[in-house]
Amino acid sequence: MEASTQTAQEANAGVKLPVLEREKLILNDRSYHWITERICGVLENRQPLLWWLLFVPSALIALLGVGGGLFHLVSTGVGVWGNTNRVMWGWPIVNFVFWIGIGHAGTLISAILFLTRQNWRTSINRAAEAMTIFAVMCAGIFPAFHVGRVWFAWFLAPIPNANAIWQNFKSPLLWDVFAVSTYFTISLIFWYLGMVPDLATIRDRCKPGLRKILYGIFALGWRGGNRQWSHYEMAYLLLAALSTPLVLSVHSVVSFDFATSVVPGWHTTIFPPYFVAGAIFGGFAMVLTIMIPARFIYGLQDMITMKHIDNMAKIILLTGTIVGYAYLMELFVAFYSGAIYEMDAFKFRIAGPYWWAYAAMMSLNVISPQFFWFKKCRENLWVVMAIAMCVNIGMWFERFVIIVTTLARMWLPGDWKTYSPSAQDQFLFVGTIGMFLALFLLFLRFLPCINIAEVKWTLPQSDPHHDDIEEHPDDGAVKEAAYQKELS
């Protein structure tokens, strides 16, 4: 950030107070109305052809892949997947962890960046949260349907029953059930509450008719009175405060599924932080992958600025490096342990039947983000996009390495057998990708993809003291003045 001596109250005579000027989040001094226009425009104007070109195929894929895939699965048996008596968890759980990981950036951006007063988040948090919700939906499909008898999945819920039998609260899998469902619920609330004022905006813009009624209902009759805003802000703050530990806990709990087992290569204490970092890593990559195109399609460059992209790139660099550290630390501990089973587990990852997966993971997750050290790379959207894609793929391979490689080579060599996914496995995974895209496109189509109210709030002129500094002396300015005096 470059400092400037150009101050707000040049006009007023008096001591010259240099003030640090914030870099603008919204470029070209856009007005409130322009912002409203622009964001609502996305869902009021006719959708660009591209929208249809993307939506129709992805919707079809979702229908076939998820709908058809699950039908075959449930009617026939888990056997249609590639899982075996050795690799009991194959692609399904890989995909679950992959999606749930992606589902982390959203709430994280909204919550943690909100708490840390990172105003730049406002332009991206809405979309990111939407992404979270859809990713968690995709994720949920896999654990739910990979159980052998999905029609008995309600055994997982602690419902009083005539059999007087209960769940096993010591099972990480049960923790998972609670964690993921909680995470979904809270994210949904967070997302919706954040959207209420914007829904009101849309309500007030559109002509009488069904649209107006629907938006009206979901806007709950929001009026934007300050007596509402004050409670509203408090609620938002609380939710942020709740979501922050939640988002950290969810992936930790997911990692417990592995970390609390006795399986060599899974039984490691580093898993929770490593999974969380990985999740943020993958999540941000996915945000970029989606926002960069959306930004162009809907011309949101002024709201989603290069600064946003730059920040996200930096976060990817950081988390990517953390993940890399975790990979290496795992290796070190394995060899330091001196336990042959532990060592072998990792040797197999590096050089075993699935060495290519490990190679892919390492190069895509650890090496590729390193390019973000260079500003040039962070500024070139093509590079950013490419690296983001790399990370998406790399993170999938990370889960593949953790789950499949480990299970294919466990304790007793007599039992070793490799695994390969079936067509249905791949079908369903592609299906969820389609579902994710379709849902996201619908979101762009019907809901404000950027938080209107908050974006307005970040405008400089939104500060009630914007134009009269002396009435309410700016604390920083005064200190600066005193400092200047001493200098002179």
């Binding site: 009617s75 026939t76 048996g77 888990v78 056997g79 899982n83 075996t84 008596n85 050795r86 690799v87 009991m88 968890w89 654990p143 990979h146 159980v147 052998g148 008898r149 999905v150 008995f152 999945a153 055994f155 997982l156 039998i165 209960w166 096993n168 010591k170 099972s171 990480p172 899998l173 049960l174 609390t260 087992s261 006795v262 399986v263 336990a339 042959i340 089973y341 072998d344 040797k347 197999f348 590096i350 050089a351 075993g352 039947p353 699935y354 060495w355 490990y358 190679a359 299970l407 466990m410 304790w411 007793l412 060599p413 007599g414 039992d415 070793w416 057998k417 490799t418 695994y419 390969s420």
Partner: protein
Amino acid sequence: MSKRVFHHPDVPADETTVAWRSPGQLDDSPEFREWLEREFPRGAAEMADGEDAETSRRSFLKLMGASSALAGFGMAACRRPESYIVPYTKAPEWVIPGKATYYASSMPRAAGAVPLVVTNFEGRPTKLAPNKLHPDADGTDAFTQASVLDLYSPSRSRKPMAGGKPASRADLDAMIAELAKDPGAKVGFLFGGDVSPTRTRLRGELAAKFSGAKFYQYEALAGDGGRAYGDGAKPVADFSKAERILSFDCDFGSSDPVGKASEFFAKRKPEGNGYKAKPDAESMNRLYMVESAFSLTGGMADHRLRVAPAELLKLAGQIARELGVPEAAGMPAVADDKQLSWIEPLVADLKAHRGKSLIVAGSRQPAAVHHLVLAMNLVLGNLGKGHPFNVVQTGNAGLGGLQELIADIHSGAVETLVMMTPANPVYDAPADLDFPAALAKLKNSIHLGTRTDVTAHAASWHIPAAHYLEGWSDARTAAGTYTVVQPMILPLYPDCVSELELLLALLSDDGKLINGEGAEGAASPAYDAVRKTFAGIGGEGDKAWKSLLRDGYLAGSAYTPIDARPSVDARKDIPEAVKAMEAAGDSLQVVFAADASVYDGRYIDNAWLQEAPDPISKVTWDNAALIAPKTAKNLGIYDEILKLEPVTKALGFIPVEGKYAAVGPDGEGKNRTAPVIELKVNGKTLQFPVIVSFGQAENTIVIPLGYGQGFNEEDDFGRKPQNESHVGLVGVNRGFNAYPLRTTASQLFAGGASVKLVAGKRYPIALTQEHSAMYGRALAREISTIDSHDHKGGFEKQLHDVAKQGPVDSHAPKNISLYKSEDRNGQPLLSDKLHQWGMSIDLTSCMGCNACLVACQAENNIPVVGKQQVAMGREMHWIRMDRYYAQQKDNNFDADNPALIPQPVGCVQCESAPCETVCPVNATVHTPDGLNAMAYNRCIGTRYCANNCPYKARRFNFFDYNKRNPLIKHNLYRGPLGKKDEGGADHLQKNPNVTVRMRGVMEKCTYCVQRLKDAVIRQKQGQKQEALAAGKPSTEMDVTTSTLRIPVDSVKVACQEACPAEAISFGNLLDKEKSSLGRAKKLERNYDLLNYIGTLPRTSYLARVKNPNPKMPDAKFIGKATINIV
């Protein structure tokens, strides 16, 4: 009205003992017929109806008396479907609904009958167990265990056929009658190799009745070695007296019995059976093995020499000469120094144990070898009563062989042939004899068989044979004890005829064929015939007969040894054999071997056997040519097949070797394929898939026989459909037929073979085990009794260090849990003070046969899943028979002769079970008596438990294996549209006390919990009976821990029961040293698998002890499977 009280007499106190069949029933008590009649019409109806067939494990009850057949949903009651209880009208004696009855019987086999106790539920035989009362009881092998499935096999022959076309029973009867009425008929009888006194007796009568009657015997794999001992004579070994054993290619422990093998295994254990004595190397026997390819017995050998089949004779000759056998004088000497250095101390050892040593030869070895063996035993003074080696007369004398038969057919001496052999001559007779042609020449040929195989189609008549559990007969064990074969059930299909019944029909004047039961339910004529025979052997009268039926055998009826001397034709046979040997020279030789799954092809339709992996090669559902790595290299086909240590590039460029390398070129799991070779021998050329087999002699190709009997369009190898009707769904498209390569001269070995790789052709092979090395993990542990002067020390030291073997356990600290395993009253969670179950598996006597695996399958209703699923790694066997090779780098004697060590792994019932804690729904929890229980009906199938199981002992029902027939290609993947297992009766075999699992649930071994529960409950019943018998008021009866605890070693689990080597001890840990388990657990060689994870398994292993001869050149490499690990 005044109240009258009828007191029902209490059941007598001894009622808890099992019920044995009483003859009262057989002598045609009306009740007995009543329930058989009631049973089987319904049974037939049941079988027709595939739907019910799978509905539930209790569906069999629908056939039965006290049953609950689910009728039309919600008919009467809207709240739930109405179901009915259908009691017997007249209660049959001894049949208690819901309680099993146990009868003694036996399975007749060429190698000697297997004495059995058969478990019956409401009249259905469901499970076979060895009859431990029997003096020759030896456990049961996989074939025996699986034979109960043959009874219910869907592909079983049910209707007579004429010229391969279905024929009416009336025509059949007419034909039989006609034959019986023609005493001048030139009829030949072809029997199997089994010994049946009644049949022997009837043979005499037949000879008397039919002037032109001739008798022959044929077993496809018998070989002509028997000649050496004289007509109808055979050797019987007494291992209890043998301290040194030299075996020439004789798998006496498993597929080639020559006597009571359990004696051999008993002497393998340094502590003896039951682990009563202190470990003592002296008490152990020592086994020297000379063979071409690994046999299970060979895997146990202390010293094993691998030689090509032709060389074996030379070796035998050398040894014989050094022992001073005159017949061996003129034989060529062994040139190879290594072999000489191996022979010298061996001979010394044998000489040192005159009269206490034993030399045996495999039944497939040529007569020459048997001559030498007989002579050697004679020289060593091992021969004769009270000595290890005896020759006995089985009474199967005066029987011609197949050659004679064919000669007689061509000469016209035989015009009608009655084939009763279980073999399949059209399919398996040596090619040069051209049996089909001879068959065609016959006026009339009658085939009696359980399968509609090629012979059945070729013969002019085929009669469906009754299963041995369906008809009366008798037999003799290997040692010759008279053993009864009694039916458990009337023939499942009305036209099934037993061998004796057919013979008796031919003997009768009117030639009326009576099978199953006679007019007005008179017992089958076979029953009277057997009684008559027995009267001659065991004495007249009901008493003897009843005790025979009760015990299943006649005490003291074993063969009496005959005085045997090397026969004159030794002088002829040996030189001939030597000539043949020199002819073969060092050319590539082929061994035609019996297959561990289909034997000679007769079990091709037995799904359990097909799915059971070959104990050595681990191939399921197929056969493949086995070849030693070096030979493969020499033949230039090595690179095509599995590399011992495939090389790959990690990260694309770093070359990696050994276990870390990626999958070998032949793939793994469902991608595994084997290259195909073209084998040319005896002027014929056939194609076989080929896989590497370790420890096999160089220049030798082993081909298991018995496959390739019928194909349809779904064949993996693209063979065109043929003989589809000869096999069922199990046997179709299975493997490759090698019989056409055999000639009379080379029935079991053939020299001068040549091999060519068929480029680009590969065949998918389903292995249950892909990796054969332990990779430095001390899993199956082995020690030796000698100090080979490395740091391992002597026997005591090695015993002491067993628990510390391996890189981890050697220095892993003791696991101490943070938690106390207590409930909230501070009581221990494993609270049962009566029983705490445990098991130990003794690797010293376990040879890795599949007996336990199949027994478990029979006991626990484990489904088969078919080749493709096995290839993927979805087999359901609760016991995984791991087989490891330990190759020793520094072995300068014979580095390519690795140690073979098997390790059966089932659920080890960890006290601290990782699987339990991860189950979200409490579907698998621990019972207070230490079982890791599995509640199938609670399981939702997250499969987390299986991931977290270090022993990978859990199996998941990926499909409805019990409902949808896995044997039809892609059928499982059709879900609800998939075909069901129709027409079969195998649901009748299901154990009613074990749930039949549906798709989507996890399953695993639970120590046969149903048996444990039954035993415990019976103990409780006994309690009450005694107390009431004592006449004390129950409030004063003293029930104590000791009275409620079941008697020591009184309950056996299925695998333990079946084990022929008594390698498995199971029992109540609280019995301490009173039980053999308790003693086993106290041994120093007792160790826990993967001890350092701290799972506290209840199943532990006893390290294998090898007893090498210190003077042998390879001595110092013996007994180190765990130490010298590749």
